[in-house]
Amino acid sequence: MTQLAEASAPAPGLLARLLARREVSLVLILLVVLLGTAAINPRFLGAGSVRDLLLNVTIIALVVVGQTIVLLMKHVDLSVSSTVGLTAFLSGALFIAHPGLPIPLALLFGVVLGAALGAVNGLLVAYGRVPALVATLGTLYVFRGITYAVVHGGQINAANLPPAFLSFATGSVLGVPNLVLLVLVVMILFGIYLGSYRGGREYYAVGSNAEAATLAGINVTRRTLTGFVISGAIAGLAGVLYLARYGTVDASAGTGLELQVIAAAVVGGVSINGGVGTLFGAGIGALLLGVMGSALVTLRAPSFYQQAIQGALLLLAISIDIVVSRRTARRLGQRRTP
């Protein structure tokens, strides 16, 4: 920031500015939940427990990356759950057909297949002018239907998968599970791309004001297409990781994931009205939802109440979000040039 700005702006205190950022309040809530739960049941923060927590969040957190990009553009991708299911099963089938398949190749397979599925969405939205909600609700059905048709009551079991793949899933580097590392790498790479590369900023621009984006020389159609391709590719990668994590995949793998992913992004401060949000926030959102779920289990909340509590917490999170962001907007509000 320049001196000019600092000298003139009635700068709100650093603390206030920091608190105005969604991510900070989220991290605080996260810490409260973590420490609060651990205070009641210290095992909650035990090594094995944290590991499980992270592993649980990985798949959602990964898919959230793509979803965030799509949401930033003021679109939505409901089909991610079906993409995860289809790639998980097909990559498993690929392993059964070629047991010696190198793991990077399997990951690549998932990414490419997912990207192809994402391209279908992208073409429908960018060129066919089909609203994203309609297009991806449609492909949610179509991709799942294809999965049912391909799988047809079959199942891929851990026993059928090459041991190398399974040990990749269970392995860890310096105590951090491989899957978590992989997802972290993807999140950080995309976080940097969205935050500080011209191409990444264009996603914000498109969602913030598509017309202005066109006037600024951004190819909105192409951005839309690539956004959906990225979302699909990441969901495809998540499909392979799903297989690695759970070892068992049937036709319904990943069902219902889409709403969890959107919920995580929204809790993480990504606006479904486009243009607002960060991957860091979305990742924290995913973590927060995962932690709350685990905490409810650890605190022995009756199973039958867990879903209701989670729903209520989700509503609370988005309500707080809107109130906070309104207050910030008001604070930034009126300022006439002298």
Binding site: L124, L133, Y141
Partner: protein, 339 residues
């Protein structure tokens, strides 16, 4: 499904010009009926059609209120959860020996309250309804489990279950479908012939202008969310009696079917456009295609794919046709056009 024979296809174009998307859907309903009849002699029988239509009663009922909501550019993803919650509540009340009429009344109150909460969060806090109802989707389903847990209440009195299961005396029309048809007519009148309905289109197409014209946008939206909750409660009661079973997981996932039907019926997801006729026809179209495919033992997966393709096609095809028309007009040169 067989493609439409060539002669009707020009008819399709003519009808489309005449009546729009709704006519196309209605025509497709007849094509699907015809195709079903050709594929299986067991299809076009009164009893089969009667089973088949009874089967989508709940989706059809909820599609009515969803149509109104989508026309004002909102959405309610929580309807199936409200259905489950209301079904569970009805079961719990009945098991607690509450007289049935009172239990049903309380169920409607619960549905209305559930809709009210959605509506308040949307209109008072200004939250997007997609996000709100994803939240209440979990909340209401969770409340259903909290109410009923793993229990299933089944011993509903025959007088009531016969209502859910039976036919209108002297016909093969299932009672829930008869109820639906009555409500569909009422909704059509409400949407297309009252001041309230006129306002809905304006609100959906341009909320700001509607507010500037003195329409009570917030109150209308709140009303529609409550209506959606009430309709889901009605669907819950129908479901409970039709299956004589109150369970917390009743109708899980129905919301996507409802929304698919509404969108396929030509209601614009951006609001301001659509009709009850279209949505009703789309409910029947999906149901009939479903029934026809089932009776020739085509598996469930194909049906899933067909539903998705129909949904995408319902927006894509008109869009592409529109573009073709524009391109054709552009090709007929107007003076010395630049390339």
């Amino acid at each position: 499904m067989k493609p439409a024979p060539p002669a009707p296809s020009s008819l399709v174009a003519r009808l489309r010009g005449l009546l729009g998307w709704e006519a196309t859907i209605i025509l497709l309903v007849f094509v699907a009926l015809l195709a079903g009849a050709l594929l299986s002699p067991d299809f076009l029988t009164a009893s089969n059609l009667s089973f088949l239509t009874a089967n989508f009663s709940e989706v059809a009922l909820m599609a009515l209120s969803m149509t109104l909501l989508v026309i004002v550019a909102e959405i309610d993803l929580s309807v199936a959860s409200i259905l489950g919650l209301c079904s569970s509540l009805l079961g719990v009340l009945w098991a607690a020996h509450v007289p049935m009429p009172l239990a049903i009344a309380l169920t409607f109150v619960a549905g209305g309250l559930a809709g009210l909460l959605n509506g308040l969060l949307v209109t008072r806090l200004g939250l997007p309804s997609l996000a709100v109802t994803i939240g209440t989707l979990a909340l209401y389903r969770g409340l259903a489990y909290a109410l009923l847990g793993d229990r299933a209440i089944a011993d509903f009195p025959a007088a009531y279950t016969n209502l859910g299961f039976g036919m209108v005396p002297g016909t093969q029309i299932p009672i829930p479908i008869a109820l639906f048809l009555v409500l569909a007519i009422l909704t059509t009148v409400l949407l297309h012939a009252t001041a309230f309905g006129r306002g809905l289109y304006a609100i959906g197409a341009n909320e700001v202008a509607a507010r500037f014209a003195g329409l009570r946008v917030e109150r209308v939206k709140l009303t529609l969310f409550v209506l959606s909750g009430l309709m889901a409660a009605l669907a819950g009661v129908v479901y409970t009696f039709r299956f004589s079973s109150a369970r917390a997981d009743n109708a899980t996932g129905f919301e996507l079917g409802v929304i698919a039907a509404v969108l396929l019926g030509g209601v614009s997801i951006f609001g301001g456009r659509g009709s009850v006729v279209g949505a009703v026809a789309a409910v029947f179209l999906i149901g009939i295609i479903n029934g026809a495919l089932t009776i020739v033992d085509v598996s469930n997966e194909v049906l899933t794919i067909v539903t998705g393709l129909l949904l995408i096609g319902s927006v894509l095809v008109p869009n592409l046709l529109g573009r073709l028309r524009v391109a054709r007009e552009r090709r007929q040169p107007r003076g010395d056009a630049v390339s």
